[in-house]
């Protein structure tokens, strides 16, 4: 590890530990939800920003993880820790299942198919009453076990556990992208798939890897959400969730993994802050953030790093979101 990287890791760990010092349940609750969104936003970025396979269905993978975890704990009294893993596994499998047909699709088509997939998942959640509880969702399925029983101590430990799991997931993606061949494979798929193939890069493998890891971690985020909020309803699978996630990623900076995580923490904070102004204005703000950043700041907050005045770094071409424009 280079020295700036050690420094950055230390700073992140310190920042993550900060909310523990504030003995207020509201702060801890906000912080816990924010890190869950950070994991979800960076998982979207791995597939869509970094590998260029635009997914409009991450709400679906998120909901799959949440529903699998909740349903297993509710109906089979499964331990939440197993539920988390199984939720992630189911989401990863469905993600891989989407990845196969998606090998034939690019750009627009992939986005539309994943949007339809999420809508189908929402439809199943709403109508498969015996398992999903229908429109009311699943509740009363318990929370994390083996932690302090109640009070601020429990909130603190839960925050630390959730933050550690989310950080591990984000760390795994950063490792994949920066320290393994897969990272270069992902970037090659994003920049020019045909060229990458002609150079002997196994684009199929890298796309499937991106799909599996991304949807699996989105499912993990869903499981964390389910056990933390203790209610899963069909609205988690709605397009509004996907929109929020994409807004966070665009805000933070596409194709950096850490940018969307940062964007999620900030946007979630702004979002909750705006609740005091008026409940409806937070999504107005999300919509504005998406539009302004796509048009003017495609590299998001991450692109502002190092240079003042909002200049966009051009060390490599700003990601256009999908290497394979419909050609």
């Amino acid at each position: 590890m280079s020295r700036p990287r050690v420094f950055a890791s230390g700073a992140v760990a310190a920042a993550l530990a900060l909310p523990v010092l504030v003995p207020h349940p509201f702060v801890l609750s906000l912080a816990t939800q924010a890190v869950i969104w950070a994991l979800l936003a960076s998982s979207w970025d791995l597939l869509s920003g970094y590998t260029g396979q635009i997914s409009f269905g991450h709400a679906g993978f998120f909901a799959l993880g949440a529903y699998t975890a909740a349903a297993l704990s509710k109906h089979l009294a499964l331990s939440p820790w197993l539920g988390l893993g199984l939720g992630a596994a189911v989401a990863a499998l469905v993600g891989l299942g989407t990845g196969f047909p998606a090998l034939r699709l690019r750009g627009h088509y992939l986005a539309l198919v994943t949007l339809a997939l999420a809508e189908l998942i929402r439809l199943v959640a709403q109508n498969w009453l015996p398992v999903t509880g229908g429109p009311f969702g699943i509740y009363d399925f318990g929370s994390f076990t083996g932690l302090p029983a109640a009070g601020i101590a429990r909130a603190r430990v839960i925050y630390l556990v959730v933050a550690a799991i989310a950080a591990a997931g984000i760390g795994l993606m950063l490792y994949l992208c920066h320290a393994t061949r897969a990272g270069r494979g992902f970037r090659a798929v994003r920049e020019d798939e045909v060229l990458a193939e002609s150079l002997g890069i196994d684009t199929t493998r890298y796309k499937l890897l991106a799909f599996g890891v991304s949807s699996g971690l989105a499912g993990l985020a869903g499981g964390l959400y389910a056990y933390y909020i203790q209610l899963v309803s069909p609205t988690v699978a709605s397009a509004a969730t996907t929109s929020l996630v994409i807004g966070m990623a665009v805000f933070g900076g596409l194709g950096t993994i850490w940018g969307p995580a940062l964007g999620a923490l900030l946007l979630f904070g702004i979002n909750e802050g705006l609740r005091f102004v008026g409940v409806v204005y937070n999504l107005v703000a999300v919509g504005l953030v998406i539009m302004v950043f796509v048009i003017f700041l495609p590299r998001g907050l991450a692109g502002l790093r190092g240079r003042g005045g909002g200049r966009i770094l051009r060390r490599d071409a700003a990601p256009t979101g999908a290497g394979g424009a419909a050609r």
Binding site: L105, V113, A317
Partner: protein, 293 residues
Amino acid sequence: MESLVEFLIQGVVLGGLYALFAVGLTLIFGVLNVINVAHGEFFAVGGYVLFAAVVLLHVPAPLGVAGAGVGAFLLGLAVYPLLIAPLNRRLGRRPAGSLYLVLTLGLSTFMQSSLLAIGGGDYRQVPPLVRGILEIGPTGVSYQRVLVLGVATLLLGALFAFLRWHRQGLAVRAVSQNPEAAQAMGIHLARIFSLTLALGVGLAGVGGALMAPLFNVYPAVGFPLTIKAFAITILGGMGNLAGALLASLMIGVAESLVVIVVPSQWQNGVAFLVMIAVLLFRPQGLLGRRAAR
């Protein structure tokens, strides 16, 4: 048997609405290469304009419907110069890829939540624009639905005639075939792009007004329709207007008839399953020209 005829009629009416919506979406995609994720929000705007006109201001219904179309059209005129042109300017010659999708998704969220902020989250009820039931043999269909189908047919006919014969319509078609060549012939690209977008979302606005008495009006009323219209445009072949028309009717009828075999709450799944199947087995769509990749 009677119920079969009834379902069939309902399906055709639904198909007419889908066509009004999907043909606009397809036109925009064909000319600007933009998939307008915010299309349904213009449908919602149409519904709100009608609600404001008929229920709050007591304006005659036909004026309300026309106002809904004009309102959506005017909003649509602003989309190209304010959102798409600046993005194109920044990108220069680089491909936009899916950035248009993300951009219009932002617009969709913005419009939907703005409607929520202005109009509140309540379901707004609008009385039928026309009352009564048209008797067809043993069954009947409400005049409201007949009106939907009639206006949809009229407007789509007008649109096709416009594209076929009018000077500006020819320009729209020229731009959709080859923007550079069209520009070289003296066609003002930016004007055609703005006009096409406004026409497309204007149709959605009229659709929203016509359906308001049947669907009620609320901020998210249009979004499910957008996703369904994606399925329809893919079934018909991306950018293919006649295909979109045909696919709209097919999906409308299929959705109405499927209720005979499966519970009605699964009805909305039909379009999505069709979409996934089409993309896997015939990605160019029913009337598509070249293979989609």
